[in-house]
């Protein structure tokens, strides 16, 4: 955040002789650029410096409960993660009032000009494939960012193209929207499984696992990898059951042999028995290293799924200029 020192100063924080400036006196809204977990996102200009920022606006709920826990969680995690080049930087946090007199909370972020969802959509609209090297560069940055987040003891829990911000010019990719993230604690709590956009949701979550960890994010990364290659979501289900069936149809129905303990998960039933389809058929256009990495990301058994850190060492990334990214 803008005003943060390394250690809090002994003098009182921001004591003034008058009321503080309102958020909207400091920023000029330029355009709406999207929706976050809990509010609209605007492109804005900081009046004092002319710097372009993203304002993530959340209306404080009428339930008289102050700052929403999701916002608190996002801010506190970003305070810990924002120093990484692959995590979007939180610059400040402001509170203000809208015309209706409702209290509004603004998270002020560095501005990125697009996101991966729009980026893929652009190629799909032109019936073009994203160049293989671009896919590789983006995937490398994604694995690096996820590795950093996991290394800091945080699960993202909602990785999807829309939450990956990009700079078109430099091809820089940054993880955003940590509204559903949480710090991993020990013993691992029973987490809610009402999270994550369905298409990128890991099978253990869909099957009702309440104890899950970093592999849920790796599954999402695998789904994003496939989507970058084909311009199409890999598993576009429209309900939890349909989502599971979609996965089973393509990757084969899991069993105790390939995933010990799967039958004990709360939502496990007797499912139709499908045989796995080869990844090269599902995701045409990758080289053998790419298929190997994708397979490791989409392993059914969470413990067998590759970690983000290990993924970075995979031969698929051998020709990435690691100095730059």
């Amino acid at each position: 955040m803008a005003t943060i020192q390394n250690k809090p100063t002994p003098t009182a924080p921001s004591t003034t002789t008058g009321g503080g400036l309102r958020a909207m006196d400091l920023y000029e809204k330029l355009e709406k650029v999207g929706e976050g977990t809990y509010g609209k996102v605007y492109k804005a200009r900081e009046k004092a410096t002319g710097r372009i920022v993203a304002l993530k606006k959340t209306r404080l709920p009428e339930d008289d409960e102050g700052v929403p826990p999701t916002a608190l969680r996002e801010v506190s995690l970003l305070r810990m993660l924002s120093q990484d080049p692959h995590v979007v930087r939180l610059l400040d946090l402001k509170q203000g009032v809208n015309k209706e007199g409702q209290t509004i909370l603004y998270l002020v972020f560095e501005y990125m000009d697009t996101d991966l969802k729009k980026f893929i959509r652009g190629y799909r609209a032109n019936h073009e494939k994203i160049p293989a090297q671009t896919v590789k560069i983006l995937m490398y940055q994604l694995c690096k960012g996820v590795g950093f987040v996991h290394g800091r003891g945080v699960l993202h829990r909602d990785l999807k193209p829309h939450n990956l911000l990009m700079d078109r010019k430099t091809m820089a990719l940054k993880i955003a929207d940590l509204g559903l993230s949480r710090a991993i604690t020990v013993p691992v709590k029973k987490y809610t499984h009402e999270i994550l956009t369905l298409w990128y949701r890991a099978p253990e979550v869909l099957l009702g696992a309440t104890h899950y960890s970093t592999p849920v994010d790796i599954w999402s990364v695998g789904c994003i990898f496939a989507e970058l290659v084909t311009n199409q979501p890999l598993f576009p289900g429209d309900s939890e059951l349909q989502q599971l069936l979609h996965i089973f149809k393509l990757l084969g129905t899991p069993n105790e042999e390939m995933w010990p303990g799967v039958g004990k998960l709360p939502n496990w039933h007797v499912y139709p028995q499908w045989k796995p389809t080869k990844l090269s058929t599902l995701v045409p256009g990758l080289d053998s290293d790419g298929y190997d990495l994708l397979e490791k990301m989409l392993a059914y058994e969470p413990g067998k799924r590759v970690s983000a850190k290990k993924a970075l060492e995979h031969p698929y990334f051998n020709d990435v200029n690691k100095e730059v990214y």
Partner: protein, 329 residues
């Protein structure tokens, strides 16, 4: 697992004891100056964005002429400990897990590293700390429920949320010793099973260590030492009483395993320092706090000081009347 080594807590909120003293002294002096200048220490908090402005001068206040005495450095210290213990009581009443209590106390400690208790009412800040802690630790309780549980207006809790969050610099993820104790107990189980003690008694050791950490949380230790150090100090102290394992040998094993930069002697010294802080802990009673509370009230509302003096005068007049009558009898 979330890692303390890379946390904002380690980076920004672990201090040297002279740092703490400096900060408390600075806040205390600032409040005393405000009192002299404006006749009150009550700061105006913008409920919306948590920004703070100095008070309006009290009517009839002549700068530097305040009859109200500010709290001393020691009285502030006493007040902080008193309300930290109150946090423990509130959390126990609501049956919150230890983690929430520890997080709330650490928020409270951090808040009053930067403000004086004369500037923001600790009774109110204490509740806001518990409330914020519940939110961050995903154990959400409504402000109304929390207020009702201890007969306080829940609006007080919400009014202080933004100033609390801003003062904490939004560094809200807190590591507490309780979790470290669980880790060490698991480790000690292996140590015992290898023939180093009766692992059946570890439950007893764990309980004693948790109780010891409860006391530790009321000292400066959480601002000076890491959660791991605090947990080991608690286990060490509890083991001294219960004699469950050979703790010195256990420490040697830990250190040989970790190739730590910090030599074991230095670590043992830290443990001793932590336990010394606990031994020195003086928890004030409600009775001890009466005088301090009165002073605090006067700092906030100097008119209450005049009323108090009038009452005092009335009492002493009444007393002297009675004494003269008694003398006649």
């Amino acid at each position: 697992m979330a890692d303390f080594r890379t946390s904002t807590q380690r980076e920004r909120w672990i201090f040297q004891s002279h740092d703490l003293m400096e900060r408390w002294a600075a806040a205390n002096q600032r409040a005393a100056q405000t009192l002299a200048q404006y006749g009150t220490t009550r700061l105006n908090v913008d409920l919306l964005d948590g920004s703070v402005s100095y008070p309006e001068s009290m009517p009839d206040h002549v700068e530097g002429s305040s009859v109200v005495k500010p709290l001393s450095y020691e009285e502030e210290q006493l007040t902080r400990v008193f309300y930290e213990q109150k946090i423990q009581e509130v959390c126990a009443a609501f049956k919150f897990p230890h983690k929430i209590q520890a997080t709330a106390i650490i928020y409270f400690k951090r808040f009053y590293l930067q403000w004086s208790v004369m500037e923001h009412q600790p009774k109110h800040i204490m509740l806001t700390c518990v409330y914020a802690s519940c939110k961050v630790e995903e154990n959400h309780v409504s402000a109304e429920e929390l207020g009702k549980g201890i007969q306080q207006d829940h609006q007080i809790i919400l009014n202080n949320e933004m100033i609390l969050l801003k003062t904490l610099d939004f560094d809200l993820i807190v590591y507490a010793p309780y979790r470290s104790i669980e880790g060490f107990i698991d480790d000690l189980e292996d140590f015992c099973r290898a023939g180093n003690g009766p692992f059946q008694r570890l439950k007893e050791l764990r309980q004693a260590a948790i109780s010891h950490v409860d006391k530790m949380m009321l000292t400066d230790a959480p601002l000076l030492y890491t959660p791991g150090q605090l947990a080991l100090a608690a286990l060490h102290k509890s083991n001294d009483l219960l004699r469950v394992v050979d703790f010195e040998r256990y420490l040697e094993i830990i250190f040989s395993r970790q190739h730590s930069d910090c030599p074991i002697e230095q670590f043992v010294q830290s443990i001793n320092e932590i336990n010394y802080l606990v031994d020195q802990l003086n928890i004030p009673t409600v009775k001890d706090m009466r005088h301090v509370d009165r002073k605090l009230k006067h700092c906030w509302d100097p008119s209450s000081h005049d009323e108090h003096n009038k009452k005092k005068e009335k009492k002493s007049k009444h007393k002297s009347k009675r004494t003269s009558t008694d003398a006649q009898l």
